[in-house]
Amino acid sequence: MSITYLEAIREAQAKLLRDDDRVFIYGQDVGGSFGGAFKATKGLAKEFPGRVLNTPISEDAMVGTAIGAALQGMRPIVEMQFADFSSVALNQILNNAGTHYWRTNIPVPITVRLPSGGTKGSGPFHSQSMESIYAHYPGLVVMTPATVEDAYTMLIDAVAIDDPVVYCEHKYLYYHLKADKLPNEAIPIGKARIARQGRDLTIVSYSVMVQESLAVAAELAREGLEIEIVDLRTVKPLDTDTVLASVGRTGRLLCVGESFPWGGVTAEVIARVASEGFHLLDAAPGRINAKDTPIPYHPNLWSVHRPSAKAIAAKARQLLKE
């Protein structure tokens, strides 16, 4: 038996609904017999009557409602149909949920699921990666699972956490990524993971780019180059210690993220390594992001817009020569 990244997300939600009557799911098309645009809630409305609820196309009000319910003791999960549409709910997520604990001493335990990132043919409004925006603002945990196991355990953790969590699930991984079974144990939230050990170069990545980076590492290994891959798992909090320890072993750093290049997670990682671990670096750190244009529709353009294994490999080879 094997289970996909998407199935893991569905199974995590089934478990949450089964184990905790404070949990409900709120989003567009999540209910009824439909089960969501990507089927992440398939069958759940039937299994848990009245707790998997369709909403109007009202991203702001969906999150506002979740905030109110959380203040009254519930543990809502909001599904955005696409991460891109969460821009409509930025005010509720950043200004309401994100400030609430600081202002009132009362946390807001909501989980907002964002089907994130690019897939072929999806274009500028169904492909975005929003994690850098959410990480920029105070008060939120931002999760970016890169494996089936993390997709499952991190979603369960997200609902248990008393603070608001933005859970960025990557659409490209939904069907591509499979595991033999669901895990019984979880890596603690806030800890990065060494996805592959190596001694020549550290690639720090998260979400789908961990998988791309692993492919690059396998390719470069055939040339005798040993790449270490750090999977951040959560971009906020950012596990700087694990990153610095890895750079300490390799002396070289490449950060890879699918979001736009200005600012963001890759820039943050490099800033931290430069200010706290400058002495560890044998070469200037590098980074790869998507291009600074809207995300293109045509596959010929999209495959160049996003960081590809080819581009990562080229940048890694360049860094290894310096």
Binding site: G64, G68, Q92, R103
Partner: protein, 315 residues
């Protein structure tokens, strides 16, 4: 009403004397509407007030000293100096803490009511307020629509005070009467004269009762004139003389006091006792807050998360 007016007059005087940092936003002219919003709510109900709701907050049970603490920045206030003036709230006691972005609190109130329904609570109601300015925000429309879709026991009291900051009604909306929107949202709609306390009490009281009894969400639209600037930094010079002569420009407190005298509900001596009592309560609250420590940046707990181990450390 009297307590709110007295308190806010004191706030204005403190502000002008340079004793309050940040803005002061008062509800002068809107006390009749606001007090009616707070009066009919009970323990277990939800009240989500906005910036001109001092009267409603007091009627709902907010201690006056918490208002003083918030404006004066006491660490013992509900916001501990982290947020000021009218943003204060105590969500655990049913009073939500508004954010400045108008319309945002409608859906939050809906969510609190859904949670109560999930838990099987009965006989509860939520009430939130809005101005005609906030009624034009997208979040407001989303929240109203969702309230009706979810059929939660919600009352929305909308006060048209004729200016969104300085912008008059004709640049805010183009429908003939804002109450017509009730039908579009799936609410039951009512109109009241916001300068008439008895009208406010009757109509808002009935709306709360209907929502509590399971009728569809209720929209009550009132008409008044804001008898102050948007905040105390604003001299409201844009308010025209013509609009000041309109019936809705009457002062609801003056009108209520006249009704009390006309109907001989209380004699002048009693009314004076009320005034003295209000002044005493205000003085006590301010004095108390003034004795309390302000926050200290060097000792502040700079942590925006309740789960300590999930705090990010950028440096």
């Amino acid at each position: 009403m009297l307590l709110a007016r007295t308190f806010e007059e004191k706030l204005v005087s403190l502000y002008r004397g340079g004793h309050i940092t940040g803005g002061v936003y008062i509800g002068k002219g809107q006390e009749a509407v606001s007090v009616a919003c707070g009066l009919f709510l009970q323990k277990g109900d939800i009240f989500s007030p906005l910036i001109r709701d001092q009267a409603g907050r007091s009627a709902f049970g907010e201690p006056l000293v918490d208002v003083a603490r918030t404006y004066l920045g006491s660490r013992q206030g509900p916001m501990r100096g982290r947020d000021g003036n009218i943003h204060r709230g105590k969500p655990t006691e049913g009073q939500l803490a508004m954010i400045s972005h108008l319309g945002a609190m409608v859906s939050v109130t809906v969510g609190t009511l859904m949670a109560k329904r999930f838990r099987g609570e009965k006989n509860f109601v939520g009430l939130t307020t809005i101005g005609e300015g906030g009624m034009q925000a997208g979040a407001f429309h989303e929240g109203m629509n969702l309230a009706a879709v979810e059929q939660v026991p919600l009352v929305v009291v909308a006060t048209n005070n004729h200016y969104a900051y300085s912008t008059p009604n004709e640049r805010e909306f183009a429908c003939a009467d804002l109450v017509e929107r009730a039908q579009g949202y799936g609410f039951e709609g009512y109109t009241i004269d916001g300068t008439d306390l008895s009208n406010c009490l009757e109509v808002i009281g009935s709306a709360v009762k209907r929502a509590r009894a399971g009728r569809p969400p209720q929209l009550v639209v009132t008409s008044v004139l804001r008898l102050s600037g948007h905040g105390e930094h604003d001299d409201a010079s844009y308010v025209t003389d013509e609009i000041k002569r309109q019936p809705f420009a009457q002062d609801c407190l003056t009108r209520a006091e006249k009704t009390i005298a006309d109907l001989e509900l209380a004699d002048a001596e009693t009314v004076q006792l009320w005034r003295d009592d209000a002044a005493k309560q205000v003085e006590d609250a301010i004095t108390q807050a003034q004795t309390e420590a302000a926050p200290d940046g060097a000792k502040e707990d700079w942590c925006a998360m309740s789960v300590r181990e999930l705090v990010d450390h950028p440096e």
